[in-house]
């Protein structure tokens, strides 16, 4: 598996798209810091970008890579290599190279700007951690979709739909149910509902780290109380890990049974 991981990683690190992605983040980081001149403001703006773009790029890139390397995959399948290691290796290769682009692209300008001397270092760290988690989650979901759909167009469509659902539609439904059931106590519900969606969860984790948490009022206090405790931190990390493990497990399961 490591060999295939290494191969995918090198393959991707030679690919133009990885560089485009890397330079995009580099540019974003530099521009934000020079325009804002304020680290915590820059972190807030970055959060907006990360919770939209990272999942989108993870999904698209995952699907694209899977379909593009299909012939090579078939070639590999003919070799005496375990199926799970082929697919997991490819998945890890994509996810790790995307994460590396993200971390390096954003990390470099912030380090040059002096993040280590600043109090915003933990905000920034939580931003990167959630970015990496989102990359791993959405790449895994993309591989799932690609594995289950031979038709490229259908696969792409589904991937975009999935992203659209989790990034936008889910919040809409969430809001609707909040407004509809406003006569009931909704703290627990909103806590659970925001835990279930990885994008919402990372958004709230970052928001609570930032100063804005006071703005969240009573509900925010409930959230802060929960996420502030060891149990809350453990649960949210556990949920994020679960979001990675379940799709990865499904990749393994499907790839073992699939007829190529």
């Amino acid at each position: 598996m490591l060999k295939i991981l290494k191969y995918s990683f090198y393959d991707l690190s030679r690919s133009l798209w990885s560089y485009v992605y890397f330079f995009f983040y580099l540019l974003l980081g530099v521009v934000l810091l020079f325009l804002n001149n304020d680290l915590s403001n820059a972190v807030i703006t970055l959060m907006n970008v990360i919770i939209i773009l990272v999942p989108l790029i993870g999904t698209i890139f995952g699907v694209m890579y899977f379909y593009n390397s299909r012939e090579f995959t078939e070639l590999l399948l003919a070799q005496p290599v375990r199926r799970s290691s082929i697919f997991l290796g490819q998945y890890l290769g994509v996810a790790i190279s995307l994460s590396a682009s993200l971390i390096l692209g954003l990390g470099l300008p912030f380090i040059l700007y002096g993040i280590f001397q600043s109090g915003a270092i933990w905000d920034f760290a939580s931003l990167l951690v959630s970015g990496v988690f989102l990359t791993f989650i959405f790449t895994a979901l993309a591989f799932n979709i690609a594995l289950s759909n031979e038709n490229k167009i259908k696969g792409f469509g589904l991937a975009i739909l999935l992203w659209l659902f989790l990034a936008v539609v889910y919040d809409g439904l969430f809001l609707l149910s909040l407004v509809y059931f406003q006569d009931y106590p909704l703290d627990k519900f909103s806590l659970v509902a925001s835990m279930l969606n990885p994008i919402d969860l990372s958004r709230i984790l970052i928001l609570l780290k930032l100063d804005i948490s006071a703005l969240l009022g009573y509900t925010g206090a409930v959230f802060k109380q929960f996420f502030g405790t060891g149990l809350g931190a453990f649960t949210s990390i556990a949920v994020l890990i679960l979001w990675v493990i379940l799709p990865v497990w499904r990749i393994k399961y499907i790839s073992a049974k699939k007829d190529f």
Binding site: I44, M47, N48, I51, I52, A167, V168, V169, Y170, D171, G172, F174, L175, L178, V179, Q182, L186, D187, F189, S190, S194, D200, R203, I204, L207, D211, I212, A214, L215, L216, G217, Y218, T219, G220, A221, F223
Partner: protein, 413 residues
């Protein structure tokens, strides 16, 4: 020649008329305690207290016009036993004392300096530390409280007092004081025609300034920073608020300025920065908000119910999460000629006024008002989309709540 003659005359006259005696108090003097000096003294005397520590409490001055001057801040240590200094007199002044360890009580309002039923006095340049109440004025008039530094370490609201507490008084000037770490920085109740100028209220447990049932007052040039809940002005009218700074009042139940049942007042040239809610207005009528700066607040202005004829003019709204949150009808409140950092309109005729009106209430702030739990969706993509579509064609937010002359450039005042 003529001048020195007059001077001579004046001095001669003064020495004849004034019987003013100076009493020195120190550990090695004839008079060793302040209370003894007070008992000895007569109207118009000067008490000069040399530096040292005086373990005295409940020193009381009744009906004597004294001038008490501390040299190098002599310490009056009340040993947690009660009020340090209590005065009921006219024409007196207290200066340069350091008062520490005032007693705490649930039934008595022990204070560093208690002034009651007094008139025409001055309490200045004193330092109070570890006090329950700092300077407490009741039924006083025409007094000046200035240059005092009051500190304490209030831990809970029930076991702490206020820095400068004024009750049922008139024509009081509170100027240049620093109040740090008490319950309320400055508290006024039934205080009319008074001025609160250039004070600093910081790190207080409850309010920086608390204003109740007080009319015709001015507060100007004060800084309120990092207090539990900012400044509260309640049940008062004709209040003039100018040049104050409200900063860093962050917390889930915190605001810069709470206005409740205030009528006929004016806010001008104030700066609100980094507050959860900069101004929360509830039941306020005929208030003018002119040339204020709102920077980086959670909510710049939150209007609750029963607010009529409020006028927002030439203010700068800069990078607040919500500029205006609004409940109820428009009720003749007006927004005009403000600068909004969120304004994205254009100015074709280049007259400095945007050609498209700006609607400061976003759909999200409207939703959050109705369903507070919806705030967890803050900064999510869906909300941004929603706000955008509502901006294009308002359906839920009050359509006539708008600034039809938004400024293109930040207003400098």
């Amino acid at each position: 020649m003529l001048r020195s003659f007059f001077l001579f005359l004046f001095l001669a006259f003064a020495s004849v008329t004034s019987r003013a005696q100076e009493i020195e108090v120190c550990k090695t003097c004839e008079v060793k305690t302040i209370q003894a000096a007070v008992d000895m003294a007569e109207d118009g005397d000067i008490l000069r207290i040399k530096s040292g520590t005086y373990k005295e409490h409940d020193i009381s001055i009744i009906d004597k016009s004294l001038t008490i001057i501390g040299e190098d801040f002599p310490v009056i240590d009340a040993e947690m036993k009660g009020t340090a200094l209590s005065i009921r007199a006219e024409n007196f002044s207290i200066e340069g004392l350091k008062i520490i360890n005032v007693g705490r009580s649930h039934t008595n309002d022990f204070a560093g300096i208690l002034v009651s039923n007094s008139k025409n006095f001055e309490v200045k340049n004193n330092r109070l530390d570890q006090v329950f109440f700092g300077i407490l004025l009741e039924r006083a008039s025409e007094g000046i409280v200035s240059g005092n530094i009051i500190t304490s370490d209030a831990k809970s609201q029930s076991t702490s007092g206020n820095g400068v507490h004024i009750w049922k008084s008139e024509k009081i000037t509170v100027k240049n004081n620093e109040v740090i770490g008490l319950r309320d920085g400055i508290y006024l109740e039934f205080v009319n025609n008074s001025e609160i100028i250039d004070n600093l209220c910081k790190d207080n447990l409850r309010y920086g300034l608390h204003f109740m049932f007080s009319d015709h007052d001015l507060y100007k040039g004060n800084i309120f920073e990092n207090n539990g809940a900012g400044v509260a002005v309640m049940y008062s009218k004709f209040i003039d608020m100018q040049d104050n700074q409200f900063r860093k009042n962050w917390g889930s139940a915190s605001y810069g300025l709470l206005l409740k049942e205030i009528n006929d007042s004016e806010l001008k040239n104030n700066i609100f920065e980094d507050n959860t809610i900069a101004i929360s207005a509830d039941n306020t009528n005929r208030i003018n908000y002119i040339e204020n700066d709102f920077r980086n607040n959670g909510y710049a202005i939150r209007i609750r119910g029963a607010v009529y004829d409020n006028n927002f003019k030439r203010n700068n709204f800069l990078y607040n999460s919500f500029d205006v949150a609004y409940t109820g009808r428009l009720n003749n409140n007006k927004f005009s000629n403000n600068y909004w950092s969120g304004y994205s309109g254009y100015d074709l005729d280049k007259d400095g006024v945007g050609d498209v009106p700006f609607r400061p209430v976003t759909l999200f702030s409207y939703l959050v008002n109705k369903t507070p739990e919806a705030i967890v969706l803050l900064r999510s993509t869906f909300i941004d989309l929603l706000d955008f579509s509502e901006k294009v064609s308002p359906i839920f937010t009050p359509a006539d709540l708008m600034d039809d002359q938004p400024q293109m450039k930040r207003i400098s005042w």
